[in-house]
Symmetry: C2
Subunit: 418 residues, 2 copies
């Protein structure tokens, strides 16, 4: 692929990371020079408007509340009305304002905002919206006159070996990813969007993530997952605009029948339970062999430091230093035709089961330009061969098309419904 | 009650809040001058040792992971062994060290620490341990030879009107309250303690709280609960040492047969689900009448500011400005024979039900000198008459005796088992 105009400008855009974008300048910056999430001068506040939706290459916030919704109306107008309402509310909440804060609050009506984030700063809130396959067609029906625009790659993910998916934690017509550095702000956002959806869409499932496991910019330290290892070291970073253009953002020519998705992406969500107790009784040697990295530094077992490229051919006394079934090997772009993901994962803990085992793991989110080439083959390989699968169980799964960012005065999904 | 020596010294202790306590000075400060949680010079690190356990009057941290355990052994030695092990691990984790960090890590054995907090600061972690009624007697059996020392007030809480308790979210032989400003640190602590308990005790239930709803010191702002209101304004603060001595800390003479609990307290835990959707469709006027405070400032409806005392007799055009069934009235010490609580509540959200309603609310924790006089009468009054009960459902309940703090070289519960 040659360099596109956006790739050329992308270098400038990456340099602008952390610099000011005054007013709706986030959009201007994004339009004119590529962007890395429309970053404003205040680290803790991100512009809602932009070429792309925020919350993808935005520096990964610490906390997550993710929600999937079932649309309960059959009216296209009601659905579009909800998207307009959500657009306005998302813009308000992203800048730290109350929902409906522009209007006086009548005393004899319910408050327009539920109030638990009153007085809190924006806390870096981003809201990222997606459309599931079932929004387009369900049981063979064209629900809202958009079946013809369903992207070819927006189909239910295939069954992977060892999947143990629970329907009540999978699928959905719509999704909202709320990321913020204060969980109260993320929960407040989902709750208010859910409330605004009353009568039009209902929560299908939702997931809190208490700590991020991915870095999306070079300046962020790599956090640890609940296996105690640094995760996502080889993740695409916002600064890698050549990579984000190649592996994250959909282009108009990718699917001409669904060119409304240009500038958008696909969001893959997987709820991955970790067999914590089993992992914790495994030797450090075995853990490191499974991961393919050392635990303390996160360096590949072939040597070097965390950021060193793994040397898959380097031999030890009894075979390759990075075992053939190590996670880092099977997940590495070198083993996946060069395919890369932009990950935005979060640790979760949801209580425990009857046997006292923690219901905990990784809520995996990846943004990809095309799940058919960018996720499915890799996950098939991992499911079949990854030594780590012994300690994992995928209990939830969903795929959404993430429309492009919203211009001022427009609404979410307007390129599809407008 | 006259002023005890501790009350006199308490004023000094409160003044020391935030001042340095070098080395194990936390204990020295606590022993010699009362304490407010054995605060060290670093806000984000609290001493493990002290006259009282940390995590009670310690400035309330932002995040919670609470766990209740069933003891699965019948051996007193094993139980005491667990308490010794937990003591050592809690001291290590509280100062930000790895569990077993003092020993070299053999490569062919499981790591002594699960690793997900490696590299993270102590984050203000406190671990507070308690003993449930069933640790002493269960099905009429004296399980560990401590039945005679069971405090008279340590009995299962009575059934309150409108309780809808779920056994799998209630009770427990042991509890651990992990509070920290980083949830990964709190989750790490519970996970490691749970792991160390393997074969001796098993997780019965656990609860994450994503945001605190209580302030325990005067310098902390009052946060908001998921009703959007400031909560716990009238909470006892750490600086109120006369009140903590009177209402929080157990004295030797309180229960001579259980004098091992002197310097400890009782922990009441209630999982209180909020009917979020019902609340959100209620007018602001009704919400404020139910709470008895205004939403924006948190001032009593009788006037003033957040910290103003409510004037329950002040009349409006149609009755008292603070309605007779307002929460603030029924929960106020003036209506409860002067009884006060030290609260340490947290907002929680655990997904949603089949109808799309959020499973969310308040995980209520209170520390009281005696639950029979300090909690039960008030909760009976609230359950029967509080207008807020229409929007609440108590789904979990537990009571624990919280032994006093641990001296260096001693173990948790040594005054009971030693």
């Amino acid at each position: 692929m040659g360099l596109s105009r956006r790739q050329v400008f992308g270098a400038t855009g990456a340099g602008a990371l952390g610099l000011a974008g005054a007013g709706v300048g986030g959009w201007a910056v994004a339009r004119d020079g590529g962007d890395a999430g429309a970053v404003t001068s205040d680290r803790a506040r991100f512009a809602f408007h932009g070429r792309h939706q925020a919350g993808i290459v935005t520096p990964a916030q610490d906390r997550l509340h993710f929600a999937a919704f079932d649309v309960t109306t059959s009216s296209r107008d009601d659905l579009v009305g909800l998207l307009r309402t959500w657009t306005a509310a998302a813009e308000e909440m992203t800048r730290g304002a109350e929902v409906g804060g522009g209007s006086p609050q009548p005393y004899d009506a319910p408050p327009t905002d539920t109030g638990e984030a009153l007085g809190l700063p924006p806390s870096g809130l981003t809201l990222t919206f997606g459309f599931g396959p079932t929004l387009f067609t369900k049981d063979g029906r064209d629900r809202f006159g958009i079946a013809d625009a369903q992207p070819a790659s927006l189909r239910e993910l295939p069954h992977f070996p060892a999947d143990a998916l629970r329907p009540e934690r999978s699928g959905g017509d719509l999704c909202v990813q709320a990321c913020a550095d204060d969980p109260q702000v993320a929960v407040h956002a989902i709750r208010n969007l859910s409330r605004l959806a009353f009568g039009t869409a209902a929560l299908r499932w939702s997931q809190l993530g208490f700590g991020r496991t991915s870095s999306t910019t070079r300046s962020q330290a790599t956090p640890r997952n609940l296996f105690g290892f640094k995760d996502g070291t080889a993740n695409i970073k916002a600064e890698d605009t050549a990579e984000t253009d190649r592996f994250v953002w959909v282009r108009p020519e990718d699917d001409p029948a669904a060119d409304w998705l240009a500038g958008g992406s696909y969001l893959v969500a997987r709820r991955i339970n970790m067999r914590i107790e089993q992992w914790d009784s495994t030797s450090l040697a075995e853990q490191e062999a499974v991961v393919g990295r050392d635990r303390t530094e996160g360096a590949p077992l072939s040597g070097g430091t965390e950021r060193s490229d793994p040397d898959f051919s380097r031999q030890g006394s009894s075979g390759p230093l990075i075992p053939v079934d190590a996670h880092v090997r099977l997940a590495h772009p070198a083993q996946n035709r060069g395919v890369q993901l932009l990950r935005r994962g979060y640790n979760f803990t949801d209580g425990n089961d009857d046997l006292g085992r923690l219901d905990a793991g990784l809520f995996f989110i990846a943004f990809v330009r095309d799940p058919v080439t960018g996720y499915v083959p890799m996950q098939n390989r991992l499911s079949k061969s990854d030594a780590m699968m012994e300690y994992l169980q995928h209990t939830g799964s969903a795929l959404f098309a993430v429309p492009p960012g919203v211009r001022p005065g427009h609404y979410l999904g307007q390129t599809l419904f407008g």
